[in-house]
Subunit: 367 residues, 3 copies
Amino acid sequence: MAAAAAAASARAALPRPHLALPSSARRSPSVSLAASPLPGLRGAASAAAPPELQVTTRLGDVIEAQQFDRAALSEIFEVAREMEAVERGSHGAPSRVLEGYLMATLFYEPSTRTRLSFEAAMRRLGGEVLTTENAREFSSAAKGETLEDTIRTVEGYSDIIVLRHFESGAARRAADTAIIPVINAGDGPGQHPTQALLDVYTIKREIGALDGIKLGLVGDLANGRTVRSLAYLIAKYQNIKIYFVSPDVVKMKDDIKDYLNSQGVEWEESSDLLEVASQCDVIYQTRIQKERFGERIDLYEAARGKYIVDKKVLDVLPKHAVIMHPLPRLDEITVDVDSDPRAAYFRQAKNGLYIRMALLKLLLVGH
Amino acid sequence: MAAAAAAASARAALPRPHLALPSSARRSPSVSLAASPLPGLRGAASAAAPPELQVTTRLGDVIEAQQFDRAALSEIFEVAREMEAVERGSHGAPSRVLEGYLMATLFYEPSTRTRLSFEAAMRRLGGEVLTTENAREFSSAAKGETLEDTIRTVEGYSDIIVLRHFESGAARRAADTAIIPVINAGDGPGQHPTQALLDVYTIKREIGALDGIKLGLVGDLANGRTVRSLAYLIAKYQNIKIYFVSPDVVKMKDDIKDYLNSQGVEWEESSDLLEVASQCDVIYQTRIQKERFGERIDLYEAARGKYIVDKKVLDVLPKHAVIMHPLPRLDEITVDVDSDPRAAYFRQAKNGLYIRMALLKLLLVGH
Amino acid sequence: MAAAAAAASARAALPRPHLALPSSARRSPSVSLAASPLPGLRGAASAAAPPELQVTTRLGDVIEAQQFDRAALSEIFEVAREMEAVERGSHGAPSRVLEGYLMATLFYEPSTRTRLSFEAAMRRLGGEVLTTENAREFSSAAKGETLEDTIRTVEGYSDIIVLRHFESGAARRAADTAIIPVINAGDGPGQHPTQALLDVYTIKREIGALDGIKLGLVGDLANGRTVRSLAYLIAKYQNIKIYFVSPDVVKMKDDIKDYLNSQGVEWEESSDLLEVASQCDVIYQTRIQKERFGERIDLYEAARGKYIVDKKVLDVLPKHAVIMHPLPRLDEITVDVDSDPRAAYFRQAKNGLYIRMALLKLLLVGH
């Protein structure tokens, strides 16, 4: 009988999600590095090899920071800016842009900050949310279901999937499986592209420009995926200068340095945070992660106390400059810094809302 | 003073939920088996005793597969079919059928698949959801609250309760307590009626008919509640033929065989999956559950590898036939089967959405 | 450049949330006790000191039972009464009063009853919800984030925060940090003001009055924050008589007794539950908490069995009187009491919905 074949072809005929990225990106797909300098893409980071261009798997998904070129970034930032007004209008005239759309937040590990940010973004646009905080227990009956099978089930219930996973590469596997759009909300040591986007957006929003920025990256530069992604993305702009300020044990790795060289981006290492702060537009502080040091608690204690952003840093920081941090913050920025107008980290977190609103709108209904 | 009595009588006077099942069912309550052949109703399955008719406790709830007669199934399937169009219209013209209704998903054990399916169903109809994924921790203060007390509290906050529980019979206790409708989303080894409904609906949807179907049930037939419920429900139709294909240690039990005999349903056991597949309209594969074998890992390994649905099965399966599976799937269906149009298991999962939309609509606002 | 400073001043210029409490309260802030008699405010309960007046930190938040004077209670109860009609209209004409508003339920310990009640309240008014059931795992990366940092992040995503925390004083810290309103949904051994409000509201709703009430408090009076808050709030009314009925090991503490004396409230201790029940308008039963007895299981067993509300209590209880309980209930009220119209505890739980609807409306959009 024809019913089975009809149903199957009906599935095949499902409309592809609206490809919302700018037409330039659609015609000539955005690029990524074969020798990817970003964490979690193991074996790919041959430091000496010149990065080659490579087509990103799919548009219509947000999988990795590398997929965005300047044009794509510009469009996302423009829409994010519009989202500030949309959010302000929530009480009087709430948006219905995503009315009738369902987002599934499929989280295999907890990340309440990121989850709430996505869910707030969906709600602020009039959309609805299906939440899964402990997707590891997707079924009480069997732990062994593949991610692909889970995705094919969840895509039947929703219009877009936001995936947080503990394995590098999981988001790409999900996107390769799903008919509906997938957004990577962090896949283990791999990518966290919406964090990278909100970081760049925050610089643009706070300083007013991206070309010509002087940026100090501070803290754990070896393991922090945020600073690595930020260095990668900011290299797309002109006349960038980057200072690396970190304890010796967690210095920025050669792959990123080589990439910056290949892009003509000026960079230098420094052990003088005050000197760097006095010359920068942006100080981007990060947390030293204890778990990276194993049993060497002594090394951890030495590293974490070495570069603290405090009042002394504020004293030398230019009036127009800002301090950023991906949060959560422990004591690498002292709390007496919070009240300074240049402390931008909570505004940065808020920008995550606007960036995610922009992405949801672009992926689901387009510009 | 009269206030207390007035409040109490106000409670008693609360309107009963709309009894949405068809008028025939309402007038003559649907029937179930005293000697219930379904799992979890222990002590009831005296194999030799002829099944007797018995009135189901309440309409207005969905508690067990046995409560549905052919007329009720027909109505549910008809509404489920309409729900496909409702879902397709979500973006342009989202349904407001359940606007202002609140569904509480009260889950005492995780079952993300089932929970998301219900929550998506509610949302697609314009309703709202209160989620409880870990109802075992209903209160941090006391673990000892009875299910009945919890239900009487939750019914004050919602319009319908979807209950997942680890104890057989919990759903019936909840329904006996609640004034608002209760849907059983699985109660331990007991019932999972919405799974049974979506299985039968999938056969009708994929093959186009239920009378005259040839059905191969494969895998763990002793413990799987889905195949037991399916065998029970399909027996309501004409000219059914069922093949049981399973390792010896997990053969279909006598209670179901006796019931099929009493209903005049033809069945046979076979150890030749290919022979069966060549003659069937539907192959319903199930997972061999490791936990049923205790320490006999050797028996488990032998059983799980015995009947695999793979390309060889596809080679002999009729063109119009389909392969079903309740999911999650481990390796009892090989992944190279997925791309065949006859692989119906993800469409089957999707049908769970339509069935649950139909039930929510029928229970809350009627036809 | 000016962008950073502009953004900072924009933040400072954010409108304060609408101060919804009555204008009298706004002009002359409501009062609390310096020598606070309520649990969790340690060191404050110097029994002999006459209570002094002290300005409550902020209006626009709901932090502790003491912040409400009679006028504030009256307004909240009036709005709560209106909410019954709003809820009844949910299906035909659902409220849109809080459309476009987002409530974040930030729960650091499970309390599903309280959480569902708040979330249902928000939904019944047309608002939306962001849920966090396990805020302790706010970030998988770092356990050490301060509550203040978490609040500053979450307030960027929502319009009101409902906080449940395991530490006494957490809600006040959150309110001192947040620009948006904060509601305390219980902070450890500290406060649970919405429970206190719903208790007083239930007396008014069931008995028809608050002045002149005779109230029997039964069970664990030493540790139960609900009975302590209730004694405190009811003392604001005229001609109150309170009976304390409790095992010796968990008697009402002197701070509350002294406070009642200072307010001219008549009270007495009794060991005869039946005698008390025959004279009361309200019997408020509470659970004896096992965890308070440590290894003295014998003392616990003796205490828990001593004062049970059962049919014998109903026999002597006046016709107009009611039995209340904050729930969950173990066996301190026998289940055969439930069907008596004077068993008010499930209606009391339901009143929690109306009180929370009223508070959300008052805090977010005013009267």
